[in-house]
Amino acid sequence: MEVPEQPLSAAVFEDLALPLFDQLYNFAHWLTHDRSEAEDLVQETYAKALRGFSSFQTGTNFRAWMFRILRNSFLSSRTGLKSTVAIGDDEDEAIVSSDPTPEAVLIAQADRETVRQALRELSVPYREILLLCEVEEMSYDEIAQTLTIPAGTVMSRLHRARKALRASLSARLKGGSNAM
């Protein structure tokens, strides 16, 4: 969503920002897992974006800008601060070495609830990058702008996030079949 060069008015903001409402809310809900927190987050995002719209650089990506505001608001919220603490531990341990197990079969077996649960429990940096890539279908460039990380990091973080999700799914499914 490249914004053409034009005077930045409230009317322009409305046209650009309102269509993102559902996406932003969904993303907020994935981050917070809570309806009222998600609402607060979205509301805060719109308020901040409207206030800061004059500083928005035309010609850059508006969607990435809005998602960035939402994400930063989340990270500075109480829930967000708690979740960032957990990342460090998670990042080292969750990644398993890529062994050539036929995981395709496992993933095919996973029902939606299992996948949802696995994604839900993933650390925020992994969860958010997977959502931006697979659900919002952002390009690596957009993701880089949203997360304010170098483009090269997007690829490696995505790779690790997928590995972590795969491992989590695999553990759940193996655990499930053991139990039976």
Partner: protein, 250 residues
């Protein structure tokens, strides 16, 4: 290129981040390499699994409205307002005039239909050998004759001191509804008076007053839940004075 290097590109390949030429090269390699293809399939399944569970929660309508309201600050451009200001009444007037035309046309058609039916009744009754079933110049004889025959009752005027005489009465039907058909005479001319219940149906929309586009002179009005019609080949003034007598009696 060894498979390890191909596999390192699988994510970028599926995320459509490879250049067109790299992407084609990858596709060519997958054609010949079942292991890499299996790996691609697994990555694809993971991508799809995430996309499927992507929608987490739907925002409530109230919250949506709240955000809409907070963001919608722009007053609509003046031109649009102007258009609406000008256009809305114009459209309204157009629609209204169309509706009025339709209504008037409909009422005209309805009026002429009812009155031509009444004229037919008037003519065919006078042409028959027995125009009336109750022959009497006395309203106190004619009126009771209808009792039990009609689901309503009515009053007839005292004619003493007028040029009108009562000839008699008979049962009649208009649009399947029973009514009274009375024959009056004035200077050798016969007039028909029809009385029906005002059912809001056939005769509902009819306006009162003389009917100018009609070959007979006629007048119709409604009073006390009844619908009256006077039809005859006499002058409008005679019709009017009989109508007045009937109106005053009812």
């Amino acid at each position: 290129m060894p498979c390890d290097q191909w596999r390192a590109q699988i994510d970028a390949y599926l995320d459509r981040e490879l250049s067109a030429s790299d992407s084609r090269a990858m596709a060519d390699h997958l054609q010949q390499c079942p292991d890499c293809t299996a790996e691609v399939l697994e990555h694809l399944q993971l991508k799809r699994a995430i996309a499927t569970v992507g929608p987490s929660d739907t925002p409530s309508a109230q919250f949506r409205a709240r955000i809409m309201q907070s963001v919608t600050t722009k007053p609509r451009p003046a031109k649009q307002w102007l258009w609406r200001l000008v256009l809305a009444p114009a459209v309204l007037v157009l629609l209204l005039s169309l509706a009025v035309n339709l209504y008037v046309d409909h009422e005209k058609a309805e009026r002429s239909r009812v009155y031509s039916e009444l004229a037919d009744l008037h003519v065919s009754t006078l042409a028959s050998g027995t125009p009336v079933d109750v022959v009497s110049t006395d309203r106190h004889t004619v009126k009771p004759w209808f009792e039990g025959k009609l689901p309503f009752t009515f009053n007839l005027p005292e004619l003493q001191g007028t040029d009108f005489t009562l000839v008699g009465g008979r049962m009649t039907y208009l649009g399947q509804a029973p009514g009274a058909h009375l024959i009056y005479r004035i200077r050798k001319h016969e007039l028909s008076v029809f009385i029906f219940q005002d059912r809001g149906g056939d005769t509902a929309g009819l306006s009162s007053g003389p009917i100018p586009e009609f070959s007979f002179n006629a007048e119709g009005w409604r009073k006390n839940g009844l619908r009256y019609f006077v039809v005859g080949d006499v002058s409008a003034a005679d019709i009017e004075s009989l109508s007045k007598l009937l109106r005053d009696a009812a």
